[in-house]
């Protein structure tokens, strides 16, 4: 038997396959298709202090090998999550991470504090990289001082695993990664979506209500892989990689570039069973390459 378990700085995932926030609902949306418990971890929907309606429709556009979204963190607020959703999903035998977002540092802190009380949530993913909200979100994550400030503030109140999700819309992602590592991040995840735009040439109008939105899917994979590799070489905390992963080969590429675990995002929409196929594919690869421990893949690219 091969070992698939990976350790992300003190917390063990039974395997490196996780799901990306905003693409996997609360897990429940996928229960008809797969066994959630088979996954290494799931990151649930972006959660904020208060209820948010998100952006107006239209919120998505298809692009070459990818999509733009402008959902804008629609969610019912952390209290609703804690009282209504958490009780329904806490039985999952997988690492449930809550993606925490906000417009102010106080928002982030209040949300993280509330999540800290939930026994079956081993960690949060601090989303300082959402490009689809007017205030906060990505603006925190693209400048070092604000990224550090929000991470430090949340660190004070959040006692479990704190993963910080980085934005690719920066000149030097390693700066921010080192900053949040210094501010107490237990791990970093990347990439969030690349800021993009799409236009309907016939109607001469933007395709999204917000004009710009977040690009995801295979189109961004080369950028994501590059950033994972850069960050892996810059920080000591584990890196969780994502961006366009559609199959086991993609997942393995991210691990070779330095990811300890990976998240599947947009791919879940195309094939809701994709995570399980990726998990099986990783096992096949390990057998073919005679690798007994998946940890051997991490940063295993020969340069």
């Amino acid at each position: 038997m091969v070992n698939l378990a990976v350790d992300i700085n003190g917390y063990t995932l039974k395997n490196p396959v996780m799901t990306a926030s905003g693409t996997f609902g609360f897990g429940e949306e996928y229960e008809d298709f797969i066994d959630i418990d088979a996954l290494g971890g799931i990151v649930v929907k972006g959660t904020t202090r208060e209820h948010r309606e998100g952006n107006p429709y239209p919120r998505m556009a298809e692009t070459p090998s990818g999509m733009l979204n402008a959902v804008g963190l629609q969610n019912k607020g952390v209290e609703h999550f804690a009282s209504n959703i958490y009780p329904r999903i806490k039985h999952y035998d997988t690492g449930i991470f809550v993606n925490v977002s906000g417009s102010t540092i106080e928002d982030y802190v209040a949300t993280a504090e509330r999540i800290n009380e939930l026994d079956h949530i081993p960690g949060i993913e601090l989303n300082i990289s959402c490009p689809n909200v007017k205030e906060g979100g990505m603006s925190f994550g693209v400048h070092c001082p604000s990224a550090i400030a929000v991470t430090e503030a949340v660190r004070k109140v959040y006692k479990k695993h704190m993963m910080v999700k980085l934005s690719p819309n920066v000149t030097d992602v390693t700066d921010i990664a080192k900053g949040v590592e210094g501010a107490g991040a237990d791990s970093v995840s990347l990439i969030n979506t690349l800021l993009g735009m799409a236009i309907d040439a016939e109607k001469r109008k933007p395709l999204l209500s917000t004009i710009t939105g977040g690009l995801s899917g295979p189109a961004v994979k080369p950028v994501a892989l590059r950033m994972v590799w850069q960050v892996y070489n810059a920080v000591k905390v584990p890196v969780i990689g994502m961006g366009g992963i559609m199959n086991a080969t993609d997942a393995i590429e991210f691990m070779l570039a330095g990811a300890t675990a990976i998240q599947v995002g947009t791919g879940n929409f195309v094939d809701p069973t994709m995570t399980i196929k990726i998990l099986d594919g990783i096992k096949d690869y390990m057998e073919r390459h005679k690798i007994n421990d998946v940890n051997e893949l991490i940063g295993g690219m020969h340069v």
Binding site: T23, E29, D32, Y57, R59, A61, N69, N268
Partner: protein, 257 residues
Amino acid sequence: MKKHVELFKVTQNRRINAEYMILHVASENKLPEILPGQFVEIKVENGPNTFLRRPISIHEVDHDKNEIILLIQEVGEGTQLMAKLQPGDDLDMIYPLGNSFTTEGIKKAVLVGGGVGVAPMLILGRELKAKGVTPYFLLGARNSEILMDLDEYLKINEVGVTTEDGSQGIKGFVTDHSLLNEQLADMDMVYTCGPDPMMRAVAAKAKEAGVDCEVSLENMMACGFGACLCCVVDTLGGNKCTCTEGPVFNTKELKGW
């Protein structure tokens, strides 16, 4: 209702006119219950520009043959590739998705389909008839060339027709037909699916007459099963997902309708 992701086999692909075709796809398994108004999400293979699945309404279900029947209009690369499917080809679908039209407590109803929006009306008409409701069809098209073959509908009940150029039925839009005017007050429900301006015009007629109206929305979807929150419509109860809480909505719930 449990959702399935399954590889169907194309059994028939019949072109009806320059723009539409009817696609039959069969399952190896016993089909589950499928409600009128529900839809499937199709994975389009070999399309360089068809990354996401395509939502298509369920037009008919043949439980004996375990076939789902779809009415598809060629509009872009995805539907063009569907038009090329041959018997024996695989088709990866997620189904059944979405809610359904309300059929309880209705005696007489008008079913208004515009263009490819007639798709869910056939399965709905059958279901209504089976439940003892009298369905009056009203189908609109640009011209007789792209109007549906009416046989299947006529087997159920009478069919009103409008064409914009008057080449068949009443000349004009569906809202010009007597079914949505003099006869409307008799109805318990107007069901409609079609282009947005048509549905809004139909809903306005229904509102005027004080009749309930259910519309089937065709919002842009990334997933089709409630995971992405891309397909929302603004309702009195806030943003709702068209793919799980719709595609069918009573226009009373919709803001700005």
